[in-house]
């Protein structure tokens, strides 16, 4: 199947695979360097406490662990977004879907008599996930079946979604008792590791395995690279696209659950506001091209860590709130430039001896292949 689908790529030698792996690492290197630089800045300002975890109430804490915990919803959404972008799509509705998932679960739990019932919480979570997956699938159908441009198709729910969330909550902010098991999703810990981190890492591993250990990843990339050629090669492009949007919606819903569980309330207006933009940013920082056809889940993860750390850095360095957006823009600018092989060649050109120092971007790209 995979060899048919991608013109014999599965016949690649082990040597070639190694080259690609190193290229993959190279692509990860720049975002990792930026992340490291941010961490160094924070340590310089606030001391090693920044990076060292501490245990508080049976839960890992400390500045950096907090950043990772708070970044979990963004990571989930960015992972879903990565898959969608791999199909040459984009999903602008994730922030609104986040709000819908949060509103559904919180409203249902609040309206019931016994908030500490585990069965109720599980039902609410299942309902929220089912609805958000359905919304994701709907986006996918609009794109794949009806050929509506992704940015337009998902814009509909981006605009309408918060209205729907408001209808669910009746314009109020539903709150859940702090004692309800629901809040464990956002505040709890498993073996001292905060639950949001556990969930986000589990989803990351699951998606990585699904896309890199099965043919799914290659199919995604092939659909994103050239849907028509993929279809002619026997790949069910439309099904793959719908699946990507469905997973993205599901991830957004899960993120909404974690976010609202953390606050024990769901704000239909502000929950997950503009998170779609941060998610797209994280995907791009991580080296996934918006042109589709290739994607890097690990890169996205590093991108999310950069964005999360950046917010803290601005506070730690003592910049005022007005600087927040400017600082973010500067870092993204730096990462984007560093990732550009042409920019690096232009800057480093005078200092390198051979022309082989930087391969042209075309051959630099680690077109990954799913192992059979």
């Amino acid at each position: 199947m995979s060899s048919n689908g991608n013109g014999g790529r599965a016949a690649l030698t082990a040597g070639l695979a190694r080259v690609r792996r190193s290229a993959y690492l190279k692509r990860l290197m720049w975002p990792l360097l930026v992340l490291a630089a941010l961490i160094v800045v924070n340590i310089a300002v606030t001391g090693f406490d920044f990076i060292l975890p501490s245990v508080n109430d049976g839960r890992l804490g400390g500045a950096f662990v907090n950043i990772l915990r708070r970044s979990a919803p963004l990571l989930l959404i960015a992972l879903g977004m990565t898959l969608v972008i791999a199909t040459k799509g984009i999903d602008l509705s994730v922030g609104a879907v986040y709000a819908i998932g949060a509103a559904l679960a919180c409203q249902m739990i609040m309206e019931s008599g016994n908030q500490s019932s585990l069965g109720l919480v599980l039902t609410a979570v299942a309902l929220a996930l089912a609805v958000t997956a359905l919304i994701g699938a709907w986006n996918g159908v609009m794109v794949a079946r009806f050929g509506i441009q992704p940015i337009v198709a998902t814009l509909i729910f981006m605009i309408a979604g918060r209205g729907i969330a408001q209808l669910i909550t009746g314009g109020q902010i539903p709150t859940v008792d702090g004692s309800s098991p629901y809040t464990r999703l956002g505040r709890g810990a498993i073996l001292t590791v905060p639950v949001p981190i556990v969930i986000a890492v589990a989803v990351l591993v699951l998606l990585a395995l699904l896309t890199r250990r099965t043919a799914l990843g290659m199919l995604l990339e092939s659909v994103g690279g050239n849907p028509e050629a993929s279809r002619l090669a026997g790949i069910r492009s439309k099904g793959i696209t719908v699946l990507a949007y469905l997973v993205c919606g599901l991830c957004a819903g899960l993120a909404g659950l974690i976010g609202s569980a953390n606050l024990a309330s769901a704000d239909a207006n502000n929950g997950g506001l503009w998170i779609e933009l941060d998610a797209i940013l994280a995907v791009v920082i991580g080296g996934t091209s918006l042109l589709g056809g290739r994607f890097f889940l690990l890169g996205t993860t590093v991108g999310v860590a950069i964005i999360g750390t950046l917010d803290d850095t601005i506070i730690n360095v003592g910049l005022s709130s007005q600087w927040q957006f400017t600082a973010k823009a500067l870092v993204v600018f730096a990462v984007a430039l560093l990732q550009s092989a042409r920019f690096r060649a232009w800057i480093l050109g005078p200092f390198t001896r051979g022309p082989s120092a930087e391969a042209p971007p075309e051959t630099d790209e680690p077109k990954e292949v799913a192992a059979p």
Binding site: T46, D49, F50, N56, D57, R59, G61, G62, A63, N66, R70, Q166, G171, Q172, I173, T175, R187, G259, N262, L263, A264, S265, D267, N269, N270, G271, L273, D311, D312, I315, N316, G318, S320, S321, Q322, Q324
Partner: protein, 327 residues
């Protein structure tokens, strides 16, 4: 004896007031005023409470015959259309809560040409259109900040080693955030309080950001030696309270907390002893609005800006006030 005299004077004044109003109404043909109200939308609990208050006040007020209510759904087009309809229907007074500040010149001019006075509620319009409305009834955000500052000065006057303050600002650049900050520090500086602003960041008026910024404050500065948290609204304050609790501290005790707004959730936190002072940002100005509407229609001169009556609440008042909260 004195009490009785005062009561008599009060009753007399009340009667006089009532008859004065009645006389005004008669002049308009009897059955009270018809008021058109173009509301922003239903974008927040505060706004919903505001709408309910205005509707209830109009219902209860004998001087008002009818309130024509239009929900603008946060779109200026709908509001402009609503105002035009009010003009066609020849209502007595138009109340407008403009969703944005600009773009009102034409329709306000039309209202003026039709001889219908316009009262702005809550939000304002750009200064160029100042002549096209009679008055604005709304919150004085600077005054809210001053009230928070006043309590701070009184509470920490004896703090020998200086008062160390954290601040959670509202959305960067928004009027409530700017003014609540300005008013607060204006009083602190004027009263000569020995304070240090340890950190001040935007929490964007949301619980989510309030909590995450507070978490960072805790890891960066610690909470030992921090005396006060000043949160520009209660959503951020409530988020920060969670962060403080999760860090193993006791909000309201280890660190004193002021919030502005005063929703039911905020008061509940106060009753639970998790915060110390609430400055009200009052959406329930329906009754006051009706007074202004009647004054304006009668042609009485009113100030260009009428501040909404807003209270402050200390820890011993939270429990009694909680049942009165409407949002």
């Amino acid at each position: 004896m004195l009490k009785k005299t005062l009561a008599g004077i009060g009753a007399g004044a009340l009667l006089f007031g009532l008859s004065a109003c009645g006389g005004g109404d008669d002049g308009d043909g009897g059955d009270g005023l018809i008021v058109g109200f173009a509301q922003v939308g239903a974008e927040s609990a505060w706004r919903t409470a505001n709408t309910d208050s205005v509707k209830a006040a109009a219902e209860a007020d004998d001087r008002i015959a009818e309130l024509k209510f239009v929900d603008g759904q946060q779109e200026q087009d709908r509001q402009i259309e609503a105002v035009r309809n009010f003009i066609t229907q020849q209502v007595d007074v138009i109340v407008l809560a403009p969703v944005v500040e600009t773009g009102w010149t034409d329709v306000l001019q039309e209202a003026e040409d039709a001889g219908i006075p316009v009262v702005l509620a809550d939000r304002g319009v750009e200064a160029a259109d100042e002549d096209l409305y009679v008055t604005r009834l709304g919150s004085d955000f600077t005054e809210e900040g001053r009230k928070a500052g006043q309590w701070t000065v009184e509470t920490f006057a004896d703090d020998a080693d200086g008062t160390r303050i954290l601040e959670l600002q509202g959305t960067t650049g928004s009027a409530p955030a700017n003014d609540r900050k300005t008013g607060f520090f204006e009083v602190l500086d004027a009263e000569g309080l020995d304070y240090e602003l340890v950190d001040s960041q935007s929490g964007d008026f949301t619980a989510e950001n309030g909590k995450s910024v507070m978490e960072t404050f805790v890891t960066t500065h610690g909470l030992d030696g921090i005396d006060l948290l000043y949160a520009h609204n209660d959503e951020m304050g409530l988020g920060a309270i969670q962060a403080i609790e999760e860090a193993g501290f006791e909000p309201g005790v280890d660190i004193q907390i002021i919030i502005v707004d005063g929703s039911a959730a905020g008061f509940q936190a106060g009753v639970d002893g998790k915060l110390n002072y609430i400055v009200e940002c009052n959406p329930a100005f329906g009754a006051q609005l009706m007074d202004v509407v009647v004054q304006v229609e009668a042609g009485e001169s009113v100030e260009k800006f009428t501040p909404v009556e807003e209270g402050v609440f200390t820890a011993d008042q939270f429990e009694a006030e909680l049942p009165n909260r409407q949002f």
